[in-house]
Assembly symmetry: C2
Homo-oligomer: 139 residues x 2
């Protein structure tokens, strides 16, 4: 239950009440290697006997994404995927075959973006890079 204690800490860190349901959702997400949708997460939790509503899963994931505890990715049209990530800024390399996700930690884009956006009279607030490809197993 290591994961759960960690989840409680994260929730308290952003002043979100660590209710039973929220802890389960976050702990489950932390145990996922890849990104998942709210529905998948709900199904998985229900499958192992947890009693919690779909709306709660949506609310919790939305809340945590707002607080920056987790990331919401929109690489599949029509639905959002969620992922628990470390604190640092990074990007994702997603396999088109198996949806495996690799985190790219060393982002070298900032100087370039800074220059570009200034040229267009923009102030950059953020950027999102998603690289798709095929991993070794899927080729």
């Amino acid at each position: 239950m290591e994961q759960r204690t960690l989840a409680v800490g994260l929730l308290e860190g952003v002043h979100v009440r660590p209710t039973r349901q929220r802890v389960r959702v976050l702990a489950e997400l932390m145990g996922e290697r890849d990104d998942v949708t709210a529905q998948e997460l709900h199904e998985r939790l229900r499958g192992r006997g947890e009693r919690l509503g779909l709306a709660t899963v949506y609310r919790t994931l939305g809340l945590l994404a707002d607080e920056g505890v987790i990331d919401a990715l929109s690489h599949r049209p029509g639905e959002l995927c969620y992922r628990w990530c470390g604190e640092e800024h990074h990007h994702h390399l997603v396999c088109s075959g198996c949806h495996r996700v690799v985190e790219l930690l060393d982002c070298e884009l900032d100087p370039w973006l800074e220059r570009i956006s200034r040229a267009h009279d923009f102030v950059t607030t953020g950027h999102r890079l998603e690289v798709s490809g095929l991993c070794g197993d899927c080729r």
Copy 2:
């Protein structure tokens, strides 16, 4: 009607029948400065007296995006935006305030991505960068 002739050419170029509806949809999109949703495009065309169904707009945009004639962007959750773009690879700088889009033509990512993906045993098939910010007018 310059735009329409151009649209016909583009449709024929990818072996898609240039029906009246498809030409109108593509010509309208080519006249848009920023990206639009299928619904907006449909409303706009209907507003000027064109008779065509919403499903046709969706079908056409989906088809053209598959063929690579137009781009589908997913920067608003829950809906897709479409945009007609030139041929060359590029990225977008989108204003969070007014949704104005600036094209960034000089992409400097390839060497870095090539190196990174090789390190993870991936073969890169594409990448998408979206930069968000605030333009001068919206600050």
